[in-house]
């Protein structure tokens, strides 16, 4: 007889909230009246994500393993779930913005209509909008929340797929430049499928080596057996799969194309939430399952961090499109995050976990804000994301330029912004762990990265505006909320980060 596993419903409440909202969204999509669908879907998605946020905040301090050991509800899981739902809610608000584009949405009206067909041109200006994006995004958020709480490799894999599949879809739904968007979606899907296969293969090898897929059991087995070719290979493959999702170089090839092709609100969503989720999984895998065999992954992560910082910072220099530039910047930031991961010490004494979680929150908020500003600057052809189009923006719209400058300074890590606090935290963790050569590389990469952030400020402030430059759209309520929240957070986390650092510090204990 099979016993039903015990489920702690309270501990699963955030997940249930978000998945419930997503399922309801599918029903609304099927049965709801078209004219009211958009409002209902937005409300539902917001209620789901904010409900997830509130319930996960209520769970603070919870430490348990539930669902037959498959899910861990502990400090990092709850902290990251709250981060994901919060950032997810902001992204949903960006999805819901309808006053920027004359076509009233960033998303295509009917994805199935071939590009360039008469019907497509007709729908281009139709008031009709796609509302599938809301339940899809909600499912992705649910998958991410599951991802950071997964306590065995199989659940981790399921979560990986649950979060990825909706992302592949919604990347292809841009209303303008549809071919670019569809190309991005296909590219993302193909490479993502590859990465999933890597992860699955790694899972199989680790199972072969340890006879278990539970992270705690793997830890026990690795403590006993020590080094094992199967185990090391399996770990390497698992890391490849996860690093791909976190867009860490050298597994980053999809990032610039997908970031550029996807509708900008979706890019914001991916850049912030996916990164948090992927790093959550990386932290849990390395720390809980392989914490005792630190020697195996440490050199690997060390090298990957250097490659990612250098590749991201250097290639971003050559970009002329802001979305691509931010994509490479996200690769560089993934490298900085890995310096925090290095600062994990197996005995739980290192400050790397708290630092990395704080960095994820700070980076996520700034990135969502930066992409939100990107949606405002437009010309007749949609968003004007070419660098040259931003010349003299400060003259045309001082407030928009000032907000963007703040985000760029935060991404560059200038003091009194959240970016600096985050950088300081991860660098401290790495130096405490003796990884100062890595920090020297990180510091130099930050300097290179500062150049391309500054270049945008130079363009906005010190250049004369072009004659036929883009216009700055007046943001509607949703985008205004997003900008207000992200600007406030960027400043507060830079000037008075004490409270949030405290929370991250307290949350930084895995249940194993």
């Amino acid at each position: 007889m099979i016993e039903a596993p015990d489920l702690s419903l309270a501990a699963l409440a955030p997940l249930l909230f978000v998945f419930g909202a997503a399922c309801l969204g599918v029903l609304v999509e099927a049965f709801g009246p078209r004219e009211r669908r958009h409002a209902v879907q937005v409300t539902l998605a917001l209620v789901g994500t904010l409900g997830g946020l509130v319930t996960s905040l209520l769970l603070a301090g919870e430490r348990e393993v539930t669902a037959a050991g498959a899910l861990a509800v502990d400090g990092p899981a709850v902290f990251l779930q709250a981060t994901i739902t919060g950032l997810g809610a902001l992204a949903i608000l960006l999805f819901a913005e309808r006053s920027l584009d004359p076509a009233r949405s960033a998303f295509v009206a009917a994805a199935a209509v071939p590009v360039g067909s008469p019907r497509d041109r007709e729908l281009m200006t139709a008031p009709r909008v796609q509302t599938e994006v809301y339940p899809l995004a909600t499912f992705a958020i649910g998958g991410m929340m599951l991802f950071v709480a997964a306590n065995d490799l199989l659940i981790m894999f399921v979560a990986l797929e649950v979060l990825s599949l909706p992302l592949y879809l919604i990347s292809g739904l841009a209303r303008r430049r549809r071919l670019l968007s569809q190309e991005a979606a296909v590219k993302y899907f193909l490479l993502g499928a590859f990465a999933s296969a890597f992860f699955l293969y790694g899972l199989a090898l680790v199972y072969g080596a340890t006879g278990s897929i539970g992270l705690a059991d793997i830890r026990a087995a690795t403590t006993e057996s020590g080094s094992d070719v199967l185990l090391v290979l399996g770990l390497a493959l698992l890391i490849v799969g996860l690093m791909f999702k976190a867009s860490v170089a050298p597994f980053h090839a999809w990032t610039p194309d997908v970031y550029q092709g996807a509708p900008t609100p979706v890019t914001a969503f991916m850049a912030a939430c996916t990164k948090v989720a992927a790093f959550g999984a990386i932290l849990r895998l390395l720390y809980v399952a392989f914490g005792t065999s630190e020697w195996t992954w440490r050199p690997l992560v060390y090298g990957i961090a250097i490659i990612s910082m250098v590749v991201g910072a250097v290639l971003a220099l050559t970009q002329t499109d802001l979305k691509r530039m931010l994509a490479y910047s996200s690769i560089a930031h993934a490298g900085f995050l890995l310096t925090g991961v290095i600062g994990l010490s197996p005995d739980g004494g290192g400050s790397g976990l708290a630092a990395t979680m704080f960095y994820l929150l700070a980076y996520g908020l700034t990135t969502v804000g930066a992409f939100a500003v990107l949606t405002l600057v437009r010309d007749g052809d949609g968003e004007a994301s070419h660098l040259s189009q931003w010349a003299g923006l400060a003259r045309r719209s001082p407030l928009t330029a000032a907000v963007m400058a703040l985000f760029l300074l935060a991404l560059a890590g200038i003091p009194l912004t959240s970016g600096f606090t985050g950088k300081f935290a991860v660098f401290r963790a790495a130096i405490e762990d003796g990884a100062w050569p890595l920090v020297v590389v990180a510091v130099l990469a930050s300097a290179v990265a500062a150049f391309f952030y500054l270049r945008v400020i130079v363009l906005m402030y010190f250049s004369e505006p072009a004659e036929d430059g883009p216009t700055v759209a007046v943001p509607g309520l949703p985008t205004t909320i997003v900008l207000a929240v992200t600007v406030t957070a960027t400043l507060v986390l830079g000037i008075a980060p004490g409270a949030v650092l405290d929370i991250a510090e307290q949350a930084a204990i895995f249940v194993g």
């Binding site: 300074l409 200038i414 600096f420 130096i431 405490e432 500062a450 010190f462 008075a496």
Partner: protein, 538 residues
């Protein structure tokens, strides 16, 4: 009286003032500059009152305050000044109102508003005060880096034709140095964690650490590179001529007068007491850079064709002297170096201001575009001469006292370097007098010539040809008006007063320097002669 939080007020007043000025409605430039002048005058008043409240023979750090800021990092918002920081605060207090006055009639390029200019200047003032007043290394670092942003916008928005290039070069150079220092700051924190059990950034606690020599060298280098870029020392200097030349005059005065002092201030406040062994071991290398800077920058200054670049290069030579004084490890030389920081801010500040006045008349920065100005504008020429003589350290000007102290104090410790540095004084006389003679005396020539009353378009290049112009040309230059005299007068007064009576400043500086030298473990001898020598030159 001493309980009043002077330092906090000196940060808060200009910071809030900057926000107010920035928030003024469009077209209220007139109100903006009046407000900026008023606020900077309040800061000057606070600085003077703080000096009165400061007891030179009392504790090392006074007017202290401390509040927990980021407990997780062990960071406190801790302020306090010793004599070294205090005289630099006075310098900030004097220079900012002068800069506001000097920018009174400036117009911004494009359709930018001068309101923003004054807001950035005030914000910069708040951060300059913060950087000198911080007694927490993290807080110091935060101000050190954040200070770049207002200066970046001052150069980039209000500077000369190549301002974009200069602004980004300035920012990146300083940022690279700052980031390297960040690594060292964190390293220092980690060392303090392992030694004291709890990590701290408090300067007084860090000063007492006993750091392993190898680690000390690395940390010293981390700090030193940042300060050497900031000061700047050869070979980290190439950003300064560009930034100094392209910055608006007011910005250039603050950049060279104060911002660069943060570099030399950092050397004496942080590099020496925190890493005494490394400082002593590496001193020969630093001295080589310092003396190379004095000579190399002086030679380059002579070759300049651009007035503002020339002044920038003279500054690099002066920073060489200051560094020499600091790394000679005698109280006398270091006291001279700190006094030099103040005097250089005044002398070079005035030189930049008067050069700016000349450029405002001719619209060109080229030396060859001017000649014989003294005949028409004697007051302008007179101020130029005083600033120039102060820059070459003529006895009777403020710089002489400090330069003399540096050389006298350094000679017993490092005779070879001192002798070489003395050559720099001769070169200084050359570059100052040559430029004075070319622009102020000699036959009238250049952009200020007027043919038969038809004004020549200002700012044309290569206008030296007018020398041989057949038309009966004559020079027409406006002499300094009342506003410009009001800008120059306090600086001229300071140059002369401090030239004859530097004792009050020396009394402020010396105890702090002596305490620093004690940290480094240098022989405390020479304190008494220092004072008498200085007195003797009065």
């Amino acid at each position: 009286m001493t309980d009043f939080p002077f330092l906090l007020a000196m940060i808060a007043v200009p910071a809030v003032g900057a926000a107010v000025v920035a928030a003024l409605p469009r077209g209220s430039d007139e109100l903006a500059k009046r407000l900026a002048l008023g606020i900077s005058a309040v800061v000057l008043l606070l600085a003077v009152l703080a000096t009165v409240a400061f007891d030179p023979d009392g504790e090392r750090f006074q007017l202290t305050m401390s509040a927990s800021w980021i407990p997780d990092f062990g960071v406190d918002f801790a302020l306090g000044v010793d004599g070294i920081a205090l005289v630099l605060l006075l310098l900030v207090g004097v220079l900012v109102p002068v800069v506001v006055l000097a920018s009174w009639r400036d117009t911004a390029p494009g359709r930018r508003s001068m309101r923003t200019f004054f807001a950035w200047v005030l914000l910069l003032e708040a951060m300059m005060v913060g950087v000198f007043a911080a007694t927490d290394v993290f807080l110091f670092y935060v101000f050190f880096e954040a200070m770049l942003v207002p200066m970046y916008f001052l150069i980039g928005s209000f500077g000369g034709p190549r301002r974009q290039y200069a602004a980004i070069k300035f920012f990146l150079y300083s940022l690279v140095g700052g980031l390297i220092m960040l690594a060292a700051v964190i390293g220092l924190y980690v060392v303090s964690t392992s030694e004291l059990g709890q990590g701290t950034f408090a300067f007084d606690a860090l000063r007492q650490l006993d750091i392993d020599p190898g680690v000390q060298k690395l940390l010293f280098l981390g700090f030193f590179i940042a300060f050497a870029i900031k000061a700047p020392l050869v070979p980290f200097h190439t950003w300064l001529p560009d930034a100094g030349a392209e910055a608006p005059i007011g910005g250039a005065v603050l950049l060279v007068g104060v911002l660069d002092k943060v570099g030399t201030f950092g050397l004496i406040r942080y590099c020496l007491p925190l890493f005494p062994d490394a400082a002593r071991d590496l001193a020969p290398f630093v001295l080589v850079l310092a003396v190379a800077g004095i000579l190399y920058a002086a030679l380059l200054a002579m070759g300049q064709t651009d007035l503002k670049r020339l002044v920038s290069y003279t500054s690099i030579a002066h920073f060489g002297f200051i560094t020499l004084g600091i790394f000679a490890f005698t109280t006398e030389a270091a006291t001279g170096a700190v006094l030099y920081m103040v005097n250089h801010g005044i002398a070079t500040g005035l030189l930049f201001l008067v050069v700016g006045m000349l450029i405002a008349r001719g619209g060109s920065r080229r030396i060859s575009d001017y000649g014989g100005v003294a005949t028409q504008a004697p007051r302008l020429a007179g101020v130029f001469l005083i600033a120039g003589l102060a820059s070459l350290a003529l006895p009777g000007t403020n710089s002489f006292v400090s330069e003399f102290l540096v050389l006298v104090g350094s000679f017993p410790a490092v005779p070879l370097f001192t002798v070489l540095a003395t050559l720099g004084m001769i070169l200084a006389a050359l570059y100052v007098l040559i430029v004075y003679q070319r622009t102020m005396h000699g036959p009238p020539r250049g952009v200020l010539l007027v043919d038969d009353g038809t004004p020549e378009p200002a700012g044309t290049d290569g206008a030296t040809a007018t020398l041989t112009a057949p038309a009966p040309a004559r020079l027409r230059v406006r002499d300094l008006d009342r506003l410009e005299m009001a800008v120059a007068a306090p600086m001229v007064a300071l140059i002369i007063v401090l030239g004859f009576y530097p004792q009050p400043l020396i009394d402020l500086i010396e105890p702090a320097v002596a305490a620093t030298m004690q940290d480094v473990g240098a022989a405390p001898a020479g304190i008494a002669p220092a004072t008498t020598d200085a007195g003797g030159t009065d």
